[in-house]
Amino acid sequence: MSTQHLPEHPDFLWRNPEPKSSYDAVVVGGGGHGLATAYFLAKNHGMTNIAVLEKGWLAGGNMARNTTIIRSNYLWDESAAIYEHALKLWEILPEELEYDFLFSQRGVMNLAHTLGDVRESIRRVGANKLNGVDAEWLDPQQVKELCPILNIRDNIRYPVMGATYQPRAGIAKHDHVAWAFARKCDEMGVDIIQNCEVTGFLKDGDRVVGVKTNRGTINTEKVGLCAAGHSSVLAEMAGFQLPIQSHPLQALVSELHEPVHPTVVMSNHVHVYVSQAHKGELVMGAGVDSYNGYGQRGSFHVIEQQMAAAVELFPIFARAHVLRTWGGIVDTTMDASPIVGTTPVENMFVNCGWGTGGFKGTPAAGMTFAHTIATGAPHALNKPFSLERFETGALIDEHGAAAVAH
């Protein structure tokens, strides 16, 4: 028997309080967006008598299932504005949250494989520069210099014809991001309540006045929905509809390897995106499964197709082994842009529709959604992303425009 004592358990990063009977505001969903929203409600608007209600554990949804790509090279002005704001926040958040979550600005490359891709990519580089977003067009030789393991020969089915490159883009440790926000929220007095599922809403006419949960009823003046893949389910409980379809989205990692991949490579056309995590796993994401699903898993052929593409682009991956695959439930909209704003229910606000690409938006979603909840009106950055745009026709169509959806 060992006589050595185990070291002391490290401090917990947040309390696990019992829900109070009422709060000034309740945020539903303890993923990145819910936590960031609570953080900015407390920090920017002084609202500390608030709670984040999470049905499972913190970041157990998409937050800790994504491939952690952060970039802001979106085509349209509205998107460039909000995603670039997010990127600027990412640049200061490790210091502000006093937490090194390994934000690594190693650059992101978006490959072009057809003449159509090339034209669109060059157009996007131009649009990005006009919006103050760093962007470059690389020819295949320059692509190879930046990422030597990429196959740029022209005898493959979809040869690399060039790439856009955003040097300030990169990756971060998603679970640590959630914990960093959670710790700061907790310090400011926000109650983070896990294992607390919202099962319904209390309304007074058209106004929400409380939430029903599996741990009792909570009265509140304001509700912010940050439920990602479950947004439609919550909206239905509240008596309105969202133009959202929930789909499985899968990703996988290999076993650990020595550093071989210096940047992040995304390919819209063959649909794979790859980076190498700090520990050494190759992290790869696939496309969504075509069918609607809430199952947090998808079909294997999607993974198979993604692997085929990866091996063609990165021949040295042929001998790597898949260690683990998983899925999340992503909330897609028809224009591939998020919905952040008011709802038909008074005092209820919604942040959803970030679909396959909302990790990068986490800080800006939190900042603008907190502003919307606190003031009752959208911030300039999320104003275009209203639910009403589906009626006015002012869509922000980033499908295909945004250099793959993640």
Binding site: Q241, L242, Y291, G295, H301, M334
Partner: protein, 134 residues
């Protein structure tokens, strides 16, 4: 991978099919009279239930026919397949009223409320077909 029971060809791999989203979405009867809100419902809003969903599939690399299917969006169990233009078999539970004109396109639905025709509907009773994704 789902194992999808094509009503014409029998059980086939999901990779032989393409997805068509929600079934029973009729083209508006009088498009010119719709308000912007009503148009937005038709264009952008689809049901997104956590549970049984009536959806369309086409057997692209087989008989190339469209058909409707009831599937559980959590377990992915397939509950029923039935012909385009026939009402949803469990119409008691969640069916949306259909008020459009019948069209001949692949996404056609019928007007009215004819009882489900058992001859064209195969309800896969309680269990999923062997091989449905788990």
């Amino acid at each position: 991978m789902l194992l999808i029971p094509c009503p014409n060809c029998g059980p086939r791999d999901e990779t032989e099919f393409h997805y068509g989203g929600q079934a029973h979405v009729p083209y508006p009867e009088n498009p010119n009279e719709l308000t912007d809100t009503e148009w937005s419902r038709y264009l952008f809003y689809r049901e997104n239930p956590k549970g049984i969903f009536a959806e369309r599939w086409v057997h692209s690399t087989g008989c190339r026919q469209w058909f409707n299917m009831l599937r559980d969006t959590v377990s992915y169990d397939i509950k029923a397949v039935y012909k385009m233009g026939t009402p949803r078999p469990d119409s008691s539970s969640r069916a949306t009223p259909e008020t459009g004109t019948a069209s001949t396109g692949p996404d056609s639905t019928t007007t009215g409320s004819a009882a489900p025709s058992t001859s064209t509907t195969s309800i896969l009773s309680t269990t999923a077909p062997e091989g449905a994704t788990k």
